[in-house]
Symmetry: C2
Subunit: 367 residues, 2 copies
């Protein structure tokens, strides 16, 4: 079997979040995020060939929570599917029928999952939400295949919008957006791995990296949804909404990684600090602290592991740097920009109100 070596630096990187915690806190949002669950599930299953064609696809079905490692159907926990929901709401808010956009919604969800399968290999992460990941069961070589097949299935699904009623020219644009987004995802992942080896990463470098690694996909969801919904005339405004939303989402995610309430996030407290993840609060604090304290913070993050005292000291340093306040202000500013852009799209009530609620939730979810 192929295995990869582990190193102590393995936990220091930015993990793509699959937003498992999003709907935990409010009922309204839970309803919103399950509104399209059934047709989306049908479309996703349509996009992945069955294991009768090749047992390769058992790995994909496993990753998506449909089967166990032996290929037997399970009633798994579905992810919250924030990305396809954003896409479908944008299609509706732009004046279109979400059913036309359903194959594109499946496409972005599969693209996200392709990136998770390969990320887990690259990060040497053995578990995700308490479940073993593909490479830890089937080995690295086959997990590469699983991700590659998920990637191809994602690209293929987008093309199916031609069958649900979108004009061929629009479908070509959607397909190009999916491919371009994929390049951005991979660029982000490339930079994230590069940053592991550098000690001079600035908050701006970091934000450019996460813009690719996670922001690009959220922005692409919005743009594709709007395009399929007939919102091409306001494309710049839709894109601006998606970009600012993606940025706000990331910043909040990083704040939660240090200061999040375990009961809300569902992750261990101060998870990013425990793991030594060099995310935004850490990088901002380095810039803002006096040299001596910055050096101490760096030292704490360079330890192979951090005990409770080291975690508390690191959080204290970040607290005193003012990084949290600056980050939260930045997230709120991006939310305001996002909402302004959304207003400028002329979004309809249906879909539009829900997009507004979702955008506000993304930034408010630390409370």
């Amino acid at each position: 079997m192929t295995t990869i070596s582990k190193t102590t630096t393995s936990k220091k990187r930015t993990k793509r979040t699959d937003t498992g915690s999003i709907s935990a806190s409010t009922v309204d949002l839970g309803g919103l995020l399950t509104r399209f669950a059934e047709p989306l599930e049908r479309e996703l299953r349509r996009a992945i060939p069955t294991s009768e064609r090749s047992s390769l696809y058992t790995m994909l079905a496993y990753h998506l929570g449909w089967v166990d490692a032996g290929g037997r159907s399970i009633e798994g926990q579905r992810g919250k599917q924030l990305r396809p929901t954003l896409l479908l709401l944008a299609a509706e808010a732009a004046g279109g029928d979400p059913a036309v956009a359903m194959p594109a919604a499946a496409s972005v969800e599969l693209l996200h999952n392709f990136s998770l399968i390969h990320d887990d290999i690259q990060d040497r992460s053995e578990e995700r939400h308490g479940r073993r990941v593909v490479w830890s069961i089937w080995g690295v070589a086959q997990a590469i295949n699983a991700g590659d097949a998920m990637h191809a299935a994602a690209a293929r699904s987008a093309l199916r919008c031609a069958e649900t009623g979108a004009p061929a020219e629009v479908v070509l644009e959607v397909a190009a957006l999916v491919d371009e987004c994929c390049l951005r995802l991979v660029e982000g992942q490339y930079s994230d791995l590069e940053f592991e080896r550098r000690d001079d990463v600035t908050p701006d470098d970091y934000l450019a990296m996460v813009d690719g690694k996670t922001g690009a996909l959220l922005a692409t969801c919005i743009e594709i949804g709007a395009l399929l919904g007939g919102g091409a005339a306001k494309r710049d405004e839709w894109r601006s909404f998606g970009r600012h939303l993606g940025r706000a989402f990331q910043i909040v995610d990083d704040v939660l990684g240090v200061w999040g309430d375990q009961a809300v996030t569902g992750k261990p407290a101060a998870d990013d600090v425990v793991k030594g993840k060099r995310a935004l609060p850490f990088l901002m604090a380095l810039q803002r602290l006096p040299a001596g304290e910055a050096a101490r913070l760096r030292e704490l993050y360079n330890l192979p592991t951090r005990d409770a005292a080291a975690v508390a000291e690191a959080i204290d340093l970040m607290d005193r740097s003012g990084a949290r306040r600056v980050a939260e202000e930045s997230a709120r500013a991006h939310l305001a920009e996002a909402l302004r852009a959304l207003d400028a799209t002329g979004a309809r009530a249906q879909g539009g109100d829900e997009l507004r609620a979702l955008a506000r939730f993304v930034v408010a979810r630390d409370r």
Copy 2:
């Protein structure tokens, strides 16, 4: 750095050939294979973002032979680009303009190269044509990114046929063929890795695997070229030509791996036997030899390494089994089928004659 462990089984699999040897023997064919070299090169460079956008793309340019590992331009040896050439000739033979099909030709070449980058990781191969492969320079994690980016660039390139003059509906079909072909490639690679662990693989299992791993791409090249050239009415015939050509190509490749003339193939003599690759001659011989001799052949292939005496004995056993004759007959039968199908397409002289020459060469190239 991420590394992968090596095992003694690592060399026993089917390596995708990048057909570096194809044009070495005949001048006509050399000319044929370089006919589109310049516009294809331009299109390939257009399809890959520059390293100014992200240094991620240095890995892709390195793999394609454009730069050295430090990112400096080199005058590298280009591959023979059999796949895009087949696509462009099919477009021409179907009555179309190869220039319209150029982005699709770049797409299949990039798809092939995406699969090579990931194959090299999965096979733990450190070199290809005497040059270090991407993972052996940048590590496994970044090489996964390089392949993923090449895959996305391949998919995106196909969409550009809408800019060179193909109707949007046809471009959607081309894009779907690229994605479907990619699934077949990955299925083939999955089976190849699975076969490593099995001792009961039949020649039919094996041929089904290589149909996916290499045949599907050749067949897809023909189908896409014909479609873009306006040959949709004879689609089944074009597809049949591609399928039989792909099968003949693979069988000949496997025969050359055991009995090929080093001066023609450019690879070490009996390379597949030295490496213990369980290809068609081995599997056919197992089926045809008396039980005792079959057991001996299996034993020889199970050795961690094979010295000259073991290689000679294994070749002798395969010789006596009649595997070579059966394989060559099968390749000739597929060539005949391919040429019959090509005639049935009503291929024009321009492109058609060259496709015939290329098809014959594929089968005759062991002489």
